[in-house]
């Protein structure tokens, strides 16, 4: 009966082995900053990822020609020291800094960038964001014209990207593209290391994985390098010792967590295990609103309903307008979303510099386009009149059952319920809810298998074009069946327009047309949901909710007190415990500046 002893021993050995394997690598010392990224990211390759969580990691490991200022989103020099834009807006020339290096110490030159752009645009790489560089001459044809093997027909030299010397890169565009600098600050354009990729290819000739992004192999050029990675748990990054601006980097290590549960991430934040989370469940919003660590800001996103305009009765513009008029936007923002979202009568969210939003017509004209008057009785009367005019309602045809299609989620369901209720109460429409699992929902939407479908769009760059461009005829993201030649013409004209005021006017005219035709029913515009320790410095909730780690640091008690002294007395800045090191954590350069400022003789010089 030794079998029993053997099996007991085997079980014990299994437990021990599992314990060793499962806790391997977790005896890491705590990181200087821990933030939650919300999910596991797809890959560390900047060229082939999409998504907001992915972007946060890309901005730590890789760096492009420029980055965005955390507060103003203006381009800030990064790999490029400076740049010229030709008067016609068609040629962008970037002058690279000579001290830029890869994380293995090699210098970074224009050849690295050229190779990265070729890889990014190559049809074989299948980069989803390749279209962002299609504003460059010949780039679109390079990606899309392929032979039977899937190889590009045109050589890369036909693309309008050139490197006149080792430290200059020039882009020639098809049309002046006002937001091209912003595209250059976007992670998809960040360079990758040729040697690193080729060596991995040589060492692992046939493998499923992207070997080159393994922590022990990855060579990158951003402020941080990967130290440890465990799927669905964390990515630990460490300051890149070869980063050109390393003296300005304050945080030595950062942990990027993949917590998916809203409750768990909030718990971890409240116990100080995480310093920054980017989203919250709507049932806790009310408790967070008065706190100093939760200050929602307008965010470049719109929440709206798509209408299938190919299917009666919603092919009738009057019906769509009636539906749009009775949506209780204010009620939705105040009772359901509750955290700084703004009722919207337009597609484009507020806050884009130089752009005046075009709103749909309502009974009351708003004095401020950012605070539209909605939920008005006059609008409901007008909606009833339009329905009668379209032949529905008392004495007319019965209105067929209308399905509100949304992806399974409590928040979407609540909003759909309120809207269905308003439609049934005001217009006598029998509105039903139809929820589908995410991928099925996407499929239904693309195939126009819906009546009215919940939708949202987050802008790629801070320009109205990222929204307006959606609804051109045949656009992949149109998904409404709507097509309007005048709209297409306006969008095309705006793309060619050099004068910024004129261009914004053209886009505004396009939006006005869209809001007249209403293939989409606007509902609200987004707000950021960042909750972060008041001590966390260099971090600002901005329109794109885009944050570059180059600017992050920890405030000491003095700086924190100064920040708090400047709070307005609005009851929205109740002090909470500021997690993070009390002594602060500043970059070497900042420490030197502070030391210089505090010693008496140099203080005199500084003034």
């Amino acid at each position: 009966m030794n079998l029993r002893a053997i099996s007991a021993l085997a079980l014990l050995a299994l437990v021990l082995a599992a314990a060793v394997a499962a806790t391997r690598g977790t005896s890491l010392p705590p990181a200087d900053l821990v933030f939650n990224n919300g999910t596991e990211i797809q890959t560390l390759d900047p060229a082939t990822v999409t998504g907001i969580p992915e972007g946060r990691v890309m901005r730590m490991l890789h760096e492009g020609l420029v980055i965005s200022h955390p507060k103003t989103l203006e381009p800030v020099p990064a790999l490029a020291e400076r740049w010229d834009i030709s008067d016609d807006g068609l040629v962008y020339t970037f002058y690279l800094r000579k001290n830029a290096r890869w994380s293995n110490g090699d210098p970074l030159t224009s050849a690295d960038l050229m190779w990265s752009y070729e890889r990014f645009l190559s049809p074989k790489t299948a980069a989803e964001y390749a279209y962002q560089l299609w504003y460059v001459k010949g780039a679109r044809a390079f990606t899309l014209d392929v032979d039977a093997n899937g190889d590009p027909v045109h050589p890369f030299s036909t693309v309008g990207i050139t490197a006149p010397d080792d430290y200059t890169v020039r882009f020639e565009l098809d049309a002046p593209t006002a937001f091209f600098m912003e595209i250059m600050a976007f992670y998809a354009q960040f360079p990758v290391n040729r040697k690193c990729i080729e060596e991995a290819q040589r060492d692992f000739p046939s493998t499923w994985r992207q070997e080159w992004v393994k922590p022990e192999r990855l060579v990158c050029n951003g402020p941080y390098i990967v130290e440890f990675r465990r799927i669905n748990d964390r990515i630990r990054v460490r300051k890149n010792p070869y980063y050109w601006n390393r003296d300005e980097i304050a945080l030595e290590t950062i942990d990027v967590l993949a917590v998916e549960s809203y409750t768990t991430m909030l718990n971890m934040y409240l116990t100080g295990e995480v310093h920054y989370i980017d989203r919250i469940a709507s049932n806790v919003v009310q408790d967070l609103v008065p706190r100093e660590d939760f200050v929602p800001e307008p965010y470049l996103g719109s929440y709206f309903y798509r209408v299938n305009v190919t299917k009666p009765p919603c092919d009738d513009k009057r019906v769509r307008r009636a539906l749009a008029l009775v949506i209780p936007r204010r009620q939705i923002c105040e009772m359901i979303t509750k955290s700084g979202q703004l009722p919207s009568l337009s597609l484009v969210p507020p806050g884009l510099p130089g752009y005046t939003r075009a709103s749909m017509r309502t009974a009351a004209t708003a004095s401020d386009a950012n605070e539209p008057v909605t939920d008005a009785a006059a609008d409901r009367a007008e909606a009833k009149r339009l329905m009668a005019e379209a032949g529905f309602g008392p004495g007319g045809k019965p209105f067929p059952t209308l399905e509100i299609h949304y992806n399974t989620s409590e928040a979407h369901r609540d909003i759909a319920l309120v809207i269905a209720d308003a439609w049934s109460r005001e217009l006598g429409i029998d509105a039903k809810l139809l929820n589908q699992e995410w991928k099925v929902y996407l499929d239904t939407q693309s195939n126009l298998g819906y009546d009215v479908s919940r939708s949202a769009w987050i802008g790629d760059y801070a320009d109205p074009n990222t929204f307006i461009d959606l609804f051109v005829t045949g656009g992949e993201n149109n998904k409404t069946g709507w097509s309007n030649a005048e709209y297409d013409r306006l969008v095309r004209a705006a793309a060619r327009e050099l004068d910024p005021t004129q261009r914004m006017a053209l886009l505004g005219a396009a939006e006005a047309l869209l809001m007249e035709e209403l293939p989409i029913l606007p509902i609200y515009s987004y707000a950021t949901q960042d909750v972060y320790s008041p001590r966390f410095g260099g971090f600002y909730s901005n329109l794109k909710d885009e944050h570059f780690p180059q600017f992050w640091y920890w405030m000491d008690d003095r700086e924190l007190a100064a920040k708090r002294a400047a709070y307005p007395a609005d009851g929205l800045h109740t002090l909470v415990e500021a997690t993070g090191p009390r002594a602060g954590l500043y970059s070497p350069a900042e420490r030197a500046r502070r030391a210089a400022a505090s010693s008496p003789e140099s203080a005199g010089q500084a003034r």
């Binding site: 499962a22 669905n232 971890m268």
Partner: protein
Amino acid sequence: MLRFLIRRFIWFVITVFTVMLVSFTLMRSVRGGPFDGERAIDPAIKANIEARYHLDWPIWRQFAHYVGPFNLDERRALFVTDDAGFHVVRTGPDVDAFGGVLAGDFGPSFKYKDFSVNDILAQSLPISILLGLMALMFALALGVSAGIASALRPGSLLDVSLRLAATAGIALPNFVIASFLIILFVFMIPLLPVAGWGSIRHMLLPSFCLGLVYAAYIARLTRTGMLEVLSHDYIRTAHAKGLAPRTVVMRHALKGGLLPVVSYLGPATAGILTGSLVIERIFFIPGTGSHFINSALNRDYTLAMGVTILYTVLVYALNTIVDIAYTLLDPRISLEDE
């Protein structure tokens, strides 16, 4: 014994193959694909991505390629980069002739492109196993002792309250218990970390929550088993011999009384391993449970298949082990006349 194992193995092969075939077909018949996102991508680019993962092949060929062992992928090297760093068509002696599940290769993850399914399972399974074993230990320790205590004094106040607690343990879902314990041990009495994985302190709450339901079942099974055994003649004989009550219970009664618990251990272990996803989510534990759900939602075909196959093998192996353990505990049972 050997005949039993051979027979089991044949059924094992049939089971796994059936599971693969059914789950592959089911998964592919669901709408939506791994590369559909809110941002529709250019059809040409999407076609390139799909070709890389052979989604352009007829479904039978994809299945044959997935199962293996012969590598149908004359373009296998599409996953590989050439000298210029681009994915290229390559064939040749260094491209594996064998592939697929039969060759131990579960393929690439469609969602987590830096990892193969093998990587993901190798990283997450030990964590789930450790969590599951700790939960099982909690369940056994709590369940068996409560069950014995109940059985020794049936109808007593102790018995009634233990049975009530067991019913509550079965009725309350583990996320409710988890919330209570988090409020109690993290926010009111700050003893334990709220979530995460790394030290033994991180494991206490989740494994306790995960094991509690099973502890309740085990307590009931132990009680029933013990009550039955305690009424047997051989127990009376043992008492008559003058053995201490403690020896009678521990040495003579427990062996027979635990039989129902042992047969329950197979399904319980399987349930703990596959049912850990809620607990993994609440306590932010990077185990296999979350992949079980997420891979299906992401349409990460290969990962979903990998987890399903893994669980099939685990459940099958555990049940076989339980059957063998049964004969060790009860000499009346023989594996041969199954």
